[in-house]
Amino acid sequence: MNRCRRFLNNVVAIAANGFREGVRDRILYVFFLFALAVIASAKLIGWVSVGEDIKVVRDIGLASMGLFGVMISIFVGASLVHREIERHTIYTVIARPVGRGEFILGRYLGLLGLVCSVTAAMGLFFTVYQAVLVWSGAAGLSDVEGGAVPFPLVRAQILIIFQFVVLVALAVFFSSTTTPVLSAVFTFLAYVLGHMAGWIYRFSDMVLDKRSVTVFDRAVSLFLKVLYYLVPNLETFDIKLRAVHNLDISNFEFACVLLYGVAYSAAVLLAAYLVLRRRQL
């Protein structure tokens, strides 16, 4: 019991420290203010969009939340563990009765808390902005389309925030294995490729989409299908296209997506711990 409490105390202390460290980073505010400016200016494009203004406003708002959240994850998260190793500040931590697992988890939760707080703040701003547009009648939104802030849009925002659960885990993993620059590149690539995972599934179908299918084709198709389930699939969290049209997803699907985020990030964090455990500091 004591061991468990000590573990939690250590993790919380490291996470809080990481969060404070991230809050002091100026780049965070640059991204945050820029995101707010983009969301606020969405209506300018909405004005010239011939009857589709609310869709354009929603598209820009959701895309900004995702994109700037990712930038914060990459730029703040890439150097997270590596900087500690480079500056040797990690010694002061692990010299104490703090395990490397606690260090990894604490750093992860600290960064995740930071990214989620910033994205949630953007989401709140976006929601209020939309509500003001609808209330003032500037959005051209009818009641049929779901009022000020339709529920699917809230779900889409939750899932945007939730994709960082996976992305930050990947950032921490790369940060504990390579240099900050490579880590940033790898995290960004993981983000882009994670959103294209659906194509692996698609290719697995395309391989079989011909007249004579060989055993090799079937093997390739199966391999691609397995690969689809193994790579980080960030497209799973992307329901923006449907949400802007006020189309909801089922509770089952929503729960599966949340479970996917938690389970996949746990696997990545365990892998990060395994790598860091073997590393000579």
């Binding site: 494009i45 010239v48 969009s49 011939v50 009857g51 589709e52 869709k55 354009v56 929603r58 598209d59 820009i60 959701l62 895309a63 995702g66 994109l67 049929v144 983000y191 882009v192 959103h195 294209m196 659906g198 194509w199 599934y201 698609r202 179908d205 389930y229 193994l230 699939n233 960030l234 497209e235 799973t236 992307d238 923006k240 296209l241 449907r242 802007v244 049209h245 189309l247 997803i249 089922s250 089952f252 699907e253 599966c256 997506v257 479970l259 996917y260 389970a263 996949y264 746990a266 696997a267 365990l270 892998a271 711990y273 395994l274």
Partner: protein, 398 residues
């Protein structure tokens, strides 16, 4: 053993993630909206091509999606804005403009298959470009597959079928389905009613009219109009059925019965259906023609309105009333838009008698066409309202 614990835990987490992912794919697959699966279908309607002559570039095939992986909505919006600009842009070749717009709209729905407005506009553009109604319906059907509850898609589908010769029944069906969708425009149901009637689907017209009454409520203003339409359609439907029964009688006996009661006496009908307006049937034993007096009165009043209009126009043009009604008709040229006049009098027009009164009473000195008491439109509408009120107060209309 301890060494293997952590890798095993990592693998267990991965297995849980895979299981959750399977759940997501099966859920989206069941709804037919899994992004990769849907896009495979969406690709089949793709006509997006490189258009270089205007410096405009549309990515082809899979590249469009790959390039817009997580910003698909924004990319589709950019195309929408581009299309809005090109709508007002003048092209030397108008066909190229519409083709270009068609490509843009199709690219939009490939990226965002849930965007109904883009699908509707794409179908309009496709019919405008190539008159390819099949492709327009295909685009709409794919959009309907992912958004079956969007009445605007059904409305657009009805419009495509409406201008596609020989597909009026499909137009009616689309209108009926669309009308049952949440928030559907009333125009859909009214259009379905009119189309069914024009296409000779009398029974369907009656059913749609009943549905309109149910939807609007008999005591509402719209319900009042629907009730009038119902009486008209029902009369026409009964006329149609009686004509069929009379033909069956003639085939059996070699001649038409002396009266409509002959149909009951012969066992073809159990009872003679009451005329919906309560004004009785007009029957000619020589020709076997049967007519609802109420409907005949209404049709006659409408014909009277058109004829009076033609006479007035003749008077304005020549300064004197026409010598006969036919002279007034000869002086006009009906166009395709004059649906009702052409339906009654043909094109070129020739005078037909009043359905109930027979020959028209025309005074060449004054240019007036006499109709007689109780034969005008307000009178027959008052009769319909009386029946409605009787129904509303709990009684039978007849």
């Amino acid at each position: 053993m301890k060494k293997l614990l952590l890798p095993a835990a990592a693998l267990a987490c991965l297995a849980a993630a895979v299981a959750a992912q399977v759940g997501v794919v099966s859920s989206r697959g069941m709804l037919g909206i899994a992004n990769p699966i849907y896009r495979k279908h969406a690709d089949q309607v793709s006509r997006a091509e490189y258009v270089t002559s205007f410096g405009m570039y549309l990515p082809k095939g899979d590249f469009a999606f790959a390039a817009s992986a997580f910003l698909g909505g924004l990319r589709a919006d950019a195309y929408w804005l581009k299309a809005a600009q090109y709508v007002s842009k003048s092209f030397e070749d108008p066909a190229l403009k519409t083709r270009f717009l068609g490509d843009l709209y199709i690219a939009m729905i490939r990226i965002d298959p849930w965007w109904s407005s883009a699908a509707v506009t794409a179908s309009n553009a496709v019919t405008g470009v190539t008159n390819d109604n099949e492709q327009a319906v295909e685009i709409l059907d794919r959009a309907i597959r992912v958004r079956p509850d969007d009445w605007r898609l059904w409305y657009a589908r009805m419009a495509v079928y409406l201008f596609w010769p020989g597909h009026k029944s499909d137009a009616v069906r689309s209108a009926l389905i669309g009308a049952s969708r949440p928030g559907a425009s009333r125009a859909l149901l009214d259009a379905a009613n009119q189309l069914a009637l024009e296409d000779g689907h009398y029974e369907l017209a009656v059913r749609v009219a009943r549905r309109r009454i149910k939807q609007y409520g008999l005591d509402s203003a719209l319900g009042r109009i629907a009730w009038r339409d119902y009486l008209e359609h029902y009369s026409r439907y009964l006329e149609h059925l009686l004509a069929k029964d009379l033909e069956a009688y003639r085939q059996k006996h070699g001649n038409f019965p002396a009266s409509l009661d002959g149909l009951v006496a012969d066992g073809i009908l159990k009872d003679l259906p009451p005329e919906p307006y309560g004004l009785g049937w007009i029957y000619d034993p020589a020709s076997g023609a049967v007519l609802s007096r109420g409907l005949g009165t209404l049709e006659g009043a409408r014909m009277h309105f058109i004829l009076s209009f033609c006479v007035t126009r003749y008077y304005r043009r020549h300064g004197i009333p026409p010598a006969s009604i036919q002279a007034a008709l000869d002086d006009v040229k009906f166009t395709a838009k004059d649906i009702e006049p052409v339906r009654y009098f043909g094109n070129p027009p020739s005078l037909v008698p009043h359905p109930v009164l027979g020959d028209w009473k025309y005074d060449p000195a004054t240019g007036r066409i006499e109709l007689g008491p109780g034969m005008d439109i307000p009178h027959i509408f008052r009769r319909a309202d009386e029946l409605r009120e009787r129904l509303l107060s709990g009684g039978k209309p007849l």
